[in-house]
Symmetry: C2
Subunit: 134 residues, 2 copies
């Protein structure tokens, strides 16, 4: 496992983190993701951490970094699927995940990113590709 796959879904890039992150993997993910944001003109990054039983300070910092990098590339980051135990640990560790938005599941995250999945989830008057109406 040398890199984590990045899936493009409309204007959103989806990353599902399922393996233990180590330094090199995190750096590769940051490189790949920023490249893909630029080449695909993505407006949102969606990171699924539902398989992670533990989010330590390393992962927390990585999520913060990704969010900050995406932000300067004009893409918003939403972390989805956080387990209750992970939320408890994060708060106990004093990690607030600054700049990282969270959502309960992918569909809620897609709504936040203004990119509903074609299931009638788009609010009236909102364009579906997450860009400005004009």
């Amino acid at each position: 496992m040398d890199r984590i796959p990045i899936l493009k879904m409309g204007p959103v890039l989806l990353v599902s983190i399922q393996v233990d992150m180590h330094d090199q993997l995190a750096l590769t993910l940051q490189d790949d993701l920023t490249d893909r944001i630029v080449t695909t003109r993505a407006r949102g990054v969606l990171i699924d951490i539902s398989s992670l039983e533990v989010v330590d300070s390393f992962i927390g910092r990585m999520l913060g970094n990704i969010a900050a990098m995406s932000k300067v590339l004009d893409a918003e980051t939403v972390v989805v699927g956080m387990r209750p135990a992970v939320a408890i640990t994060l708060v106990e560790l004093g990690m607030s995940l600054t700049g990282v938005r969270t959502a309960l599941n992918v569909e809620r995250a897609m709504e936040i990113l203004g990119a509903a999945t074609g299931n009638g989830g788009t609010p009236p008057g909102e364009v579906t590709d997450g860009r400005h109406p004009d």
Copy 2:
């Protein structure tokens, strides 16, 4: 890693396989996926194998099983992200992945499943949730 996460995106369930499959993990995935198809009334299953460098006969059989199970639950399975080397190996092994549709990437698969991601990918006259127009 005891189970592979299943992400619901509208009428489609998305599974990204990133780790080495073993018997128990494959069985758990089949159980989880069939459960989720029924509970979410999903019409499509999308399996991303872009991180797999090798698809052996075990994985091939698992994909075929998942496709067959989804089929009887009225959901179509599309495998995406197959690497060229994997395609070569599959053919050389004589595995035709019967009943499994493939697509180059998630967006093409979403089009096949009639569930475009809100990026204007839905063909005219086709409903976006993959069900019959009437």
